[in-house]
């Protein structure tokens, strides 16, 4: 089951609202909001496909300006 660590950049003043909104998404775990408003989250799904769908979905959440990938592990899935 692949897992990734992402950083989410939000529009000014939107971080708390975005955080609570995305926390309810199955497969997205918010690990913290940084002082500059960026959100650190862990994304996991059964497949990379699922992860990408989750991340692509984040782009559509109001207040999110960018999602960047810091870490991706997919060791237990066959290529």
């Amino acid at each position: 089951m692949p897992v990734s660590g992402v950083i989410i950049t939000c529009a000014e003043g939107c971080s708390a609202e975005v955080s609570s909104r995305i926390s309810s998404i199955n497969g997205v775990e918010v690990h913290g909001i940084l002082p500059d408003g960026q959100i650190v989250a862990v994304v996991e799904a059964d497949t990379v496909d699922g992860e990408v769908e989750l991340v692509a979905g984040l782009y559509e959440v109001e207040g999110i300006q960018a999602v960047r990938l810091a870490y991706h592990n997919f060791e237990d899935i066959a290529h």
Binding site: M1, V3, S4, G5, V6, I7, T9, E12, E29, H31, G32, L34, P35, D36, G37, Q38, V40, A41, V42, E44, T47, V48, D49, E51, V52, E53, V55, A56, Q65, A66, V67, R68, L69, A70, Y71, H72, N73, F74, E75, H79
Partner: protein, 773 residues
């Protein structure tokens, strides 16, 4: 680690890496050091990303010979530990199920497996036969900005220094040749003065024809992060299509296609009229020139052009700009005169650090060189150049468009380090380093990329070897060149790639190549940063790297002595860097790159140069000189402000073909999709091309969202579903289609007109009609 599963640790690793990249410590209960300890069995190695010209640093985790994890490289100055969404696909591009693993030889309509020896014997035989019968200019190599430095260097050395033909071209001719000619004609030297740090340090960013949010997401994020820290930051998006970039910009300025030429002249007009220019800077660092006008569009085979620049005075330049009033240009461009005036003042605002950034909107342009010149004009007039935080910069689309094609010089006219085949001293220097007779290198360039495939169609070129690129999907006016490739009569096409493509289907021999970390490599990104990686996994089956393939041909043609290497990558690097020494193009010894996260050239005494032409940063500028454009000796080390007029596009919408067609890229796919098309999740997210259209235009034609339409140009027809409300939105009178879809060859509709100076085709403008399908 007691009580915690490996999954918990992996999640902690993921969070810790994200916190670290954001410059914060993890607040989670799982400590990051425990998380890293759990990864002990994964071997990590560095590499630049395989995709675009940003050159993000990646750490690749390998276990049992396979990639199992990737990280943004926290030590990489380009991306500081963060990758864009394409980071998810980096490993998967290597593991597509239809990876080419054996050489294939055409037998009638089928491709039959062969040994490397059989394939190379056949290829060498065809090269020899063609050279004997028709001369060296009947064979060609067509590579790309995805070649490693070593691969491009070997190809250029074999063809120019061995076979004795200048028939070497890269696909970079299709994407940033106008940037090269822009730099060369303005500054006398290629590539930017600034670096990506400008994105953090600047406060005013003019984007021209650049959808950075989708095509350079990491760089765009740096700019957005800057804006979050500094409320003064303003992003202005000049574009002909509303994109995700426009959505996030502070101001979206839509303009009519081709009128960027007029707009930049109008901005310069206002800067002069309102005396916003820096007179002292102009006196010290600028000369003015005017070249030929009404220069044509390269539509005829064997089109030739030579500019005739003439020095003019500042007053003549002012007179040239007179007609470009904001009111006149407002009519032409549809940008209100008031906006033009405001933005000219913003460009010249002394309290602001101003940057211009552009990509294909400028470069893929029948006046691509001119529009690059005009952008530099504005920066030179206002002295917003060569300072940390304020510079013009052309972004590149391929990982080594700069490092390989521009710096190594794999164009027909170029040699390494900005040298050209037309110059006898340059040929002599190249011949000295290559250990050959200078007469071997022909003094005349042959064909730019478009002309190369026209020559294949005519039969002037018989044998072409295509490496790391997909021209039979990416060329404009594609049908002509696809048909030309299979005309027979001695034509022979070799394609080296990692997957079957629209180009391999036309090949006589297909060679399976190693990709990215399956071989050792170096790439050079858009900020002059050269990055190295080691081979980290084996290629599949019998796939071999393109460097080996080229050297193998050399040996079989009798040019093996040009490649007397025991460790080719290292020895090629040391040989290659002799070209740039003392030329402002200095590169460091091979070993330096194996450790560093890239170094920006010139690298002198082990120190990289982040800002060129400026005292205190660039070792070529002495104390007291301030700024010196030292590559432009011919103009006494000054930069050139060019008087370049607005001229219309060669094909404009009319009664019969009333829409502009613009082609380009989307976030999920890279170029012709040969790699990203192998990733099922990308294909699900963005499976096929669509026709972006304005709802008003659609309404007028009775077309509903998602309905299929027939798009026709004078060259071809294609049927696509319409998208009226996607991420990108066409302006009225315009449509946009991405070119990644190998099932829908939109480039069949494009016109093969090109900039006469750069030879780069314009994929952004031709006329089409739309009908319900």
């Amino acid at each position: 680690m007691g009580g915690l599963s490996r999954r918990d640790f992996l999640k902690a690793s993921a969070a810790a890496a994200a916190f670290a990249a954001a410059g914060a410590s993890a607040a989670a209960s799982l400590r990051p050091k425990d998380a890293s300890a759990s990864e002990g069995d994964i071997r990590w190695g560095k590499a630049p990303c395989r995709f675009c010209g940003t050159g993000c640093g990646v750490l690749i985790g390998v276990r049992d010979g396979r990639i199992v994890a990737t990280k943004g490289d926290p030590q990489a100055p380009v991306n500081k530990g963060l990758n864009c969404i394409k980071g998810y696909f980096l490993s998967k591009i290597l593991y597509g199920t239809d990876r080419l693993t054996k050489p294939l030889i055409r037998k009638g309509d089928t491709m039959v497996e062969a040994s490397w020896d059989e394939a190379m014997t056949l290829i060498a035989g065809k090269f020899k036969e063609s050279i004997d019968k028709h001369g060296p200019d009947s064979v060609a190599m067509y590579g790309s900005g995805q070649w490693t430095v070593f691969e491009g260097y070997a190809a250029s050395k074999l063809f120019k220094g061995g076979i004795g033909t200048n028939n070497v071209e890269p696909n970079a001719r299709l994407c940033m040749a106008s940037s090269v000619t822009g730099f060369m004609s303005t500054f006398g030297g290629d590539e930017p003065m600034g670096c990506f740090d400008d994105l953090d340090l600047g406060d005013t960013f003019f984007l021209w024809g650049a959808n950075m949010a989708e095509c350079h997401p990491v760089l765009f994020s740096r700019m957005i992060d800057n804006r979050l820290r500094n409320p003064q930051v303003k992003i202005i998006d000049f574009a002909t299509r509303y994109t995700r970039t426009s959505q996030m910009a502070d101001q979206y300025v839509k303009f009519n296609p081709q009128t960027d030429l007029a707009l930049l002249n109008a901005i310069a007009h206002v800067i002069i009229r309102d005396k916003l220019y820096d007179e002292q800077f102009i006196k010290d660092h600028v000369v003015f020139k005017r070249g030929k006008e009404n220069i044509g569009y390269g539509l005829e085979d064997k089109f030739k052009f030579a500019d005739e620049p003439k020095l003019i005075g500042f007053d003549e330049y002012k007179a040239f700009l007179k007609p470009y009033t904001p009111e006149y240009v407002a009519k032409l461009s549809s940008v209100p005169a008031k906006t033009i005036v405001e933005l000219a003042h913003l460009y010249a605002d002394k309290s602001r650090k101003v940057n211009s950034l552009w990509t294909m909107g400028f470069n893929q342009h029948t006046r691509g060189t001119w529009v690059n010149n005009l952008a530099y004009n504005v920066h030179l007039l206002t002295s917003k150049i060569c300072k940390p935080g304020e510079n013009p910069m052309s972004l590149t689309g391929q990982p080594s468009a700069c490092g390989t094609t521009r710096e190594v010089g794999t164009f027909t006219h170029r040699l390494p380090a900005d040298m050209v085949v037309m110059n006898p001293e340059h040929r002599e220097k190249a011949a000295r380093i290559w250990g050959i007779d200078p007469k071997k290198i022909p003094a005349k360039p042959t064909y730019n990329a478009t002309e190369m495939f026209r020559a294949l169609d005519r039969g002037d070129i018989k044998v072409v070897w295509i490496q790391v690129t997909n021209p039979f999907q990416s060329l404009p006016n594609l049908s002509r060149y696809r048909k030309g490739a299979r005309k027979g009569d001695g034509r022979f096409i070799v394609v080296s790639d990692i997957y079957p493509t629209r180009s391999t289907e036309l090949a006589d021999v297909i060679l399976p190549s190693a990709c990215w970390i399956e071989k050792e490599g170096m790439f050079g990104n858009a900020e002059r940063r050269t990055q190295h990686w080691f081979k980290q996994i084996d290629p599949p089956g019998e796939a071999r790297n393109d460097l080996w393939q080229t050297i193998e041909l050399a040996k079989r043609l009798g040019y093996g002595s040009l490649f007397p290497y025991t460790y080719p990558e290292k020895e090629i690097w040391e040989e290659y860097r002799k070209f740039g020494e003392g030329q402002g193009k200095d590169l460091a010894p091979y070993e330096s790159y194996t450790k560093a996260r890239g170094l920006c050239w010139p690298v002198v005494n082990g120190k990289e140069t982040t800002y060129r032409y400026v005292e205190g940063f660039d070792p070529y500028v002495k104390a007291g000189e301030g700024i010196k454009f030292y590559k432009n000796k011919a103009d006494h080390y000054k930069a050139v402000v060019w008087a370049r007029p607005y001229e219309p596009a060669p094909e404009v919408p009319d009664r019969h073909y009333p829409f502009w067609l613009c082609t380009g890229r989307v976030l999920e796919h890279w170029h012709t999709g040969t790699m990203t098309g192998r990733v099922p999740e990308i294909m699900r997210a963005n499976p096929s091309a669509v026709c972006e259209m304005h709802p008003v235009d659609a309404g007028r034609l009775g077309i509903k969202d998602h309905q299929k339409v027939k798009i026709t140009s004078r060259r071809g027809t294609i049927i696509l579903p319409v998208n009226l409300n996607g991420r990108g939105k066409a302006e009225k009178g315009n449509i946009f289609v991405a070119f990644f879809d190998e099932g829908k060859l939109i480039n069949e509709l494009c016109l093969d007109a090109y900039c006469p100076i750069s030879g780069e085709p314009d994929y952004k403008k031709c006329a089409v009609k739309i009908e319900k399908a």
